[in-house]
């Protein structure tokens, strides 16, 4: 399957998935996904529960490797390198591609140590104080925590914790950030702050965001991919990519009927 994307100018791609099939054991969970993710843009994955959007997201930093029985066919090319080449070290992949999770998950360490953790394990030689400040500033959290860097990261509010997790991801200096429903555990005001942050971050990073919230996708994303799920004859569920285009096209003039029905709230 290929998509004719209605773009005006050619863009540089960061990830290029090519006929990716994901299996859990013998069950096919995602069938034949091909998608190009563009540099310095925000790409949203939307779709009903179980459509495999989170699964696909975790393929981009090989976090699915942790699941027993996980098996991937096809190619995901990242800067001309197939991420699933047997020669590739998944630890190195994850150092370059940061991740923010659904539930804020700071380490039970101080705010400072949370941000410094990734840099320390990567053998960062520069000024750690400076890196911590820069990362917290980029995550729009510095002013709120600059006087209590030694306090536990778990003492922060949910929204602050999520921005701390973003600061922690930025401190490793990745070039792409994957976000798995980063606002689903946050209140509306915290959500707004994280969305503003995503807007600022795309100047330097390429971002993929999985979201259940269609308004969020339309607010933050440049590109949107709609996934759907269909039952298989063996009783399982299989996700597939329905349509991928610029966000305004997906939300205003989608080419597929399923997309039209989903974005207008008729199912999902």
């Amino acid at each position: 399957m290929s998509f004719s994307i209605t773009t005006t100018e050619p863009q540089e791609t960061v990830f290029s998935a090519n006929d990716v099939k994901v299996y859990y054991g013998k069950f096919l969970a995602l069938k034949g996904i091909s998608i190009d993710i563009f540099k310095n843009s925000v790409t949203a994955f939307i779709g009903p529960s179980g459509c495999g959007k989170s699964t696909l997201l975790r393929c981009f930093n090989r976090l699915n490797d942790l699941i027993e029985n996980f098996h991937l066919e096809g190619k995901i090319v990242y800067h001309h390198q197939n991420l699933y080449d047997p020669q590739v070290d998944p630890v190195e992949v994850r150092r370059r591609i940061g991740m923010v999770f659904q539930k804020p998950n700071p380490f039970p360490k101080s705010i400072y140590d949370n941000v410094a953790f990734g840099a320390r394990i990567n053998g960062y030689k520069g000024d750690m104080d400076e890196l911590v400040e820069k990362s917290l500033r980029s995550a729009a959290l510095w002013d709120e925590v600059k006087d209590k860097l030694k306090e536990s990261g778990l003492a922060l509010s949910g929204g602050q914790q999520q921005r701390l997790c973003i600061a922690r991801a930025i401190a490793v200096q990745p070039d792409a950030i994957l976000m798995d429903e980063p606002c689903s555990a946050l209140d509306p005001i915290s959500t707004l702050r994280v969305e503003e942050l995503i807007h600022q971050l795309k100047e330097r990073y390429s971002i993929i965001i999985v979201t259940h919230n269609m308004q969020q996708a339309s607010r933050v994303a440049d590109m949107t991919a709609f996934f759907n799920v269909e039952p298989t004859d063996k009783g399982g569920r299989m996700g597939y990519l329905v349509e991928y285009d610029r966000t305004e096209v997906i939300f205003q003039t989608p080419k597929q009927q399923a997309t039209q029905e989903y974005v207008s709230g008729r199912f999902g």
Binding site: L63, L66, V91, R94, F107, A169
Partner: protein
């Protein structure tokens, strides 16, 4: 709407006299049980102190610093037993903490297939079910003959180190310490494993997602996050090692003197009580009670210390 509105008066139903007395009865019952436990502890402490009173009067604090235990001359001091209690427990901890925490890690990570791990968890728990007299017998017939070889080698090769400056004749501090280590292993393993597997899986994913290796994740994220549970396990094990009686009596040699060599016979407070109580009379009984009181205070101290350490490491 066709259905009539429910009568609001029906939701008002004051509790009957029976309900009230049942509630009050339950409150008092639980209060009684809770206080009874504290009462028993207090009662034991008071009784031991009363029985120890003659010895406290005749020996005073010197009891703790005196090294002779001579029922014939009625001279009593428990310094060697305090030393033996601490050192045997320390040997047990040095051996059991790395093995116990290592086992807990193996059983909480997915290094082995789940069925094998389940069997291993069961086997470790079974270690705790072996009666301590069986450990003592095993120590005498199996462990001591093996340790004689090891001890002989340590003495001949490393005899210049004070800890090995006597040969291992049979029972001694080392066999007692090794058996104590095996006995406290299930406590350390089970509690450490519980605190490791109860960590949220997001923590592991966060660490790996930042490009940490599994090694870095285990040692820099998982163990620090579970440290309060692990420290608690170690302290609980220390309390157990200090109070263990039967197996130690059978293996330590019951020598009431201080010897820096861990291959020499020694004694612990619990073992002193077990070995002497049956034939004691007069001031000797009172002195044994005094020793029991000291053991009581020592374990109390360890538990308070444990609580403090757990509180301190929990704060971050």
């Amino acid at each position: 709407m066709n259905t009539p509105a429910p009568n609001p008066a029906k939701i008002i139903r004051p509790p009957s006299q029976w309900d009230k007395s049942l509630d009050r009865g339950f409150i008092w019952l639980t209060r009684f049980f809770a206080l009874a436990i504290a009462g028993i502890l207090l009662w034991i402490a008071v009784q031991v102190t009363i029985q120890a009173a003659p010895a406290i009067q005749s020996s005073g604090l010197g009891f703790i610093f005196e090294s002779t235990w001579d029922p014939v001359k009625d001279q009593y001091g428990v310094l060697p037993q305090i030393y033996g209690t601490m050192v045997s427990a320390l040997i047990a901890l040095i051996l059991a903490v790395p093995i116990g925490v290592g086992t807990a890690l193996l059983l909480s990570e997915n290094f082995l297939p789940l069925p094998i791990r389940t069997v291993m968890v069961f086997l470790v728990e079974l270690l705790a079910a072996i009666p301590s007299v069986v450990y003592g017998l095993w120590g005498i017939f199996v462990l001591i003959p093996i340790l004689k070889e090891v001890g002989g080698w340590l003495h001949s090769q490393l005899g210049w180190i004070p800890f090995f400056n006597t040969p291992l004749a049979g029972p001694g501090m080392l066999p007692a310490g090794v058996v104590l280590a095996i006995m406290i292993l299930p406590i350390i393993t089970a509690i450490s494993r519980d605190s490791l597997i109860s960590l949220p899986p997001e923590l592991r994913q966060a660490s790996l997602g930042l490009g940490a290796t599994r090694w870095e994740t285990i040692f820099q994220v998982l163990i620090p996050a579970a440290i309060s549970g692990i420290v608690g396990a170690v302290m609980l094990a220390l309390g157990r090692a200090m109070g263990e009686t039967m197996a130690v009596t059978m293996l330590i040699g019951n020598a009431n003197n201080i010897n820096i060599s861990i291959l020499a016979p020694a004694n612990t407070i619990a073992s002193l009580l077990a070995s002497q109580f049956a034939e004691a009379s007069g001031l000797q009984i009172s002195s044994l009670m005094y020793a029991a009181l000291i053991l009581f205070l020592l374990t109390l101290l360890v538990n308070v210390l444990a609580e403090l350490i757990v509180q301190k490491v929990k704060r971050i």
